[in-house]
């Protein structure tokens, strides 16, 4: 038992992640699955295959990130001529139009947040691999931030769908989704799934090992 706190696992319990009941673990192997006695959800000591799943989702998101930023996000067809905008050129257009707050918002939600999320998750995964003992509280906080901000990247996806639905002025102007649309949406969904499959308790396991 570590000096700082008693964990449920040390006391022979696992926590149900749905209803937060404690499930008696007993002599069952640590990587097996039990059912929560209260809400019948599957219960594990650690999220199953957490590392492998998170790695694959993060890598897939990296692959999608590049085309999401290079291809056109929107294609505006007005008066016969078409204008392609990538995420970045859309931000630059907003700056040119002096809509600074909106430009910053889109830049942060669509470019900074997904990349920061991917880099952070990669760093956390590496720290688990290396059984790092470096600043565990900060790493736990970092994970909580990543988990919370992920949803805001959906902003551009929603803006795109709204524009698509609203701007249907026939020959006057229409907006089509460029190739980047699908890639960008998959980056956002993949990073949200990756954050959900990473088990922050793995970071604390390394802390207890060498005590």
């Amino acid at each position: 038992v570590s000096a700082a706190a008693l964990t449920a696992a040390e006391a022979g319990f696992a926590r149900c992640e749905v209803c937060e009941a404690l499930v008696r673990w007993g002599e069952v192997p640590p990587d097996s699955e039990r059912r929560c006695g209260r809400c019948h959800s599957p219960v594990h000591l650690r999220r199953p295959n957490s590392i492998v799943r998170t790695w694959s989702l993060v890598l897939a998101a990296y692959v999608m990130y590049l085309p999401a930023n290079l291809f056109a996000m929107t294609v505006i067809i007005s008066m016969g001529s078409s204008e392609r905008d990538t995420i970045l050129s859309g931000v630059l257009a907003l700056i040119a139009a002096k809509w600074y707050p909106v430009a910053i918002l889109i830049f942060v939600a669509s470019i900074t947040v997904p990349l920061a999320k991917l880099l952070t998750l990669t760093g956390l995964l590496l720290s688990v691999h290396r059984r790092s003992r470096w600043r565990p509280r900060d790493r736990a906080e970092l994970y909580r931030v990543v988990e919370r901000i992920g949803r805001w990247s959906m902003l551009d996806v929603f803006v795109l769908t709204l524009l698509l639905a609203l701007v249907q002025l026939g020959s006057l102007a229409t907006i089509e989704v460029g190739r980047a649309g699908t890639f960008f949406a998959s980056v956002v969904v993949l990073t949200i799934l990756a954050a959900k499959s990473f088990d922050p308790r793995l970071m604390w396991d390394a802390m207890e090992e060498r005590e």
Partner: protein
């Protein structure tokens, strides 16, 4: 109780506040293209976002479970 499991599952994917912000951004983007106004639906939708976020924040599943257990 599948209802509670369902709630835990969809929690991450309900993004009303993100959507509302997207509506505002779309509005700004369209101002340069066409003349648009905000209808009453937008205000009600804003209120819906506030109320539902508030409800989500104050809901404590543990109360449901403790009441259920007290009954059985």
């Amino acid at each position: 109780m599948p209802a509670m499991r369902f709630r835990a599952l969809v929690e991450d994917w309900s993004m009303l506040e993100v959507f509302l912000l997207a509506v505002l951004v779309t509005y700004v983007k369209l101002i340069s293209m066409a003349q648009i106004g905000i209808g009453p639906g937008a205000w009600v939708f804003g209120a819906l976002m506030l109320v539902s976020t508030w409800a989500g924040a104050s809901f404590d599943p543990r109360i449901v479970w403790s009441r259920l257990e007290a009954r059985s």
